[in-house]
Symmetry: C2
Subunit: 342 residues, 2 copies
DNA sequence: CTTTACTTGAGGTACGTTCCTCATTTACGC
DNA sequence: GCGTAAATGAGGAACGTACCTCAAGTAAAG
């Protein structure tokens, strides 16, 4: 009738409470045969550990650090905000997270920050950065200190991160390609692709996916070489002006990365928004505005709130060594238009 | 340093533990002035009730009932599956949910089911059905028995439901309209709209949103009167065959409701999928397949997993009288294409 | 001043788990 | 069969909250 407890399991297995405890918590000093007996009893009774009691007894606290890139970025700002909100909501669950800003182009300072972290008591790290050998080493060091590490937004596949929370960049690029192609059905012309830097892994991957779909399904469209803004407003204006002059048959524009505020300004200044299909990444105040006024047709995004909550849940699961509920953690590629704006 | 407890609050406020307890749990017998003292202490110390300890002490169990419409529906099946999965994941949190099937076209049986529920111990109800006076009364009865009720997928706005978990049908229709319009840019022709029944509230609302967007932004498209399938495969084939004969300029098709498996068969049989834009609702095995083979261009969906988890969280919050974390509970309108299929 | 109702304090038990200590039993190699 | 190590049992304290009882206090009404 009522929920079985450890006592019931002990009874059922014909062992003492202490032994059940040893088995349940993976402590040593129990014969394999006895372990099996307990496990049988557990599954027979359908015993599930009461997380409330467990967490209370264990006096567990989760102190996480979240490392986000420095510098002005509406996307990172949104992320930070969502994190603060989620932390407030999880205070009752003994989860706290502190945000650290790390400079983008100084791998040594990243490492220094990561090292500094180790001084404080720390139960998990989420990090959004580009992968360098130094970062890789630093993560390895964290890991061997027993601190779980998850990569946030951008994956660090060659590092020993425990998990990646974010969307698949290739699929995101493919989705952009599909939408742009469908929006330009029957049209032939050029596609201008804009990115902060072609060196970033996710830019490369998005471009890969984008090109693959356009090449296969939309032969009328010619994808131009990527234009790089280096996340610099002045440079953005300059390269867009040049592109507007150079290419006369631009039918669609795909912005692969951050810095959409300045980019949109530059496009408007060069009359490149009118009558063209435009797809950008990440829902921010700037891109939301552009959706509403019709400059942007679709935003490829990821649910920031979900991203953050998922990160916290995964770090927690890694700390406790509990299984991760994959279906809940998969970050979907959101397509946002003027009409389904959240 | 460490998290404040009730003891700390008692100390800070200069009252006893019992008084703090009375205030925190809204029990009577405390002077307004003392209440204020305690509240001040709480906010000064930043005290947050430890949910683990609280739930443990309170021996809370959450027994929910979920009422879903009977009959063959891939959407409902998916929902049921997600629910089972979520329940398994939440067993540790003392949450359990039992699914009941209710017949769609028999309001009296719905009421009977709802009445029967009251016999068993019950902490919350989620219900997906169409609104009738009988349902309205039954919900009112549940409510006055102190059982929180949330409407699932389809809202019951004139009933006294505590919350609606689902997407806004008007926006969903607008999104479909926008996409279909954009996919058919420059094309002029007719739009075939298919629905199980024009009597259902969500069909009406979707159509409303759809028409509004097409009328405003895509004057080249003429939306035809809705064709009703009554969720019957034979009838579906019949009406589609008739439509294929009657209308010779169908450029796009919008399916507003369930029954997409038979509908897609009928469309293929009448060669209505080729070269036309097609948008349907709800991601199911049938629509997923159709996305992959190119028959369907986009699916307007809702994240079923999120829907279910959100429902459980909201019922739980209603039981405990805790605030609802709105941002997390808003169900987005998903646009699913071949390339961002989850 | 007494009565009465309301307010507060003090102290306890319970929830199910974790983690600890110490005693006892069992198994196995010599 | 003895010694040693491994396995198991028994019991208890702690975690922070909820909820209960009973006593003691205070204030207002009579």
């Amino acid at each position: 009738m009522t929920r079985p407890t450890v006592h019931d399991v002990a009874n059922e297995a014909g062992v003492s409470l202490a032994t059940v405890d040893r088995v349940l918590n993976g402590r040593p000093g129990v014969r394999a045969q006895t372990v099996k007996r307990v496990q049988t009893a557990v599954s027979k009774l359908g015993y599930v550990r009461d997380t409330y009691a467990a967490n209370l007894a264990r006096q567990r606290e989760y102190r996480f650090a979240v490392l986000l890139p420095q510098g002005p970025s509406q996307f990172v700002d949104t992320l930070k905000e969502a994190l603060t909100e989620a932390c407030a909501a999880h205070a009752a669950d003994r989860i706290s997270a502190q945000v650290f800003s790390i400079p983008l182009n100084d791998p040594h300072r990243v490492v220094r920050e990561l090292r500094a972290l180790q001084a404080t008591p720390l139960d998990g790290v989420a990090i959004m950065t580009t992968e360098t050998p130094q970062v890789r080493d630093a993560i390895l060091r964290l890991k061997s200190a027993g601190v779980p590490v998850v990569a946030l937004v951008a994956d660090l596949p060659s590092s020993s991160r425990d998990y990646f929370v974010g969307t698949d960049s290739i699929s995101a690029g493919r989705t952009a390609g599909f939408l742009l192609g469908r929006f330009l059905k029957g049209v032939s012309g050029e596609i201008l692709v804009v990115t902060p830097s072609m060196l970033a892994r996710d830019s490369i991957e998005r471009r890969l996916g984008f090109d693959a779909v356009i090449a296969r399904d939309f032969p009328g469209l010619r994808v131009l070489p990527s234009v790089e803004t280096h996340a610099d407003p002045d440079r953005t204006h300059a390269v867009i002006a040049r592109a507007a002059e150079t290419y006369r048959e631009i039918a669609g524009i795909y912005s692969m990365g951050a810095g959409n505020g300045p980019l949109l300004e530059a496009l408007r200044a060069n009359r490149l928004t009118e009558g063209r299909a435009l797809i950008v990444h990440e829902l921010t105040p700037a891109t939301r505005q552009a959706l509403l006024n019709g400059d942007v047709d679709a935003v490829i995004g990821q649910n920031i709130g979900h991203l953050v909550r998922s990160t916290l849940r995964i770090l927690r699961a890694k700390c406790d060594n509990t299984p991760i509920y994959e279906a809940q953690e998969r970050i979907r590629i959101d397509i946002v238009t003027r009409e389904n704006l959240p």
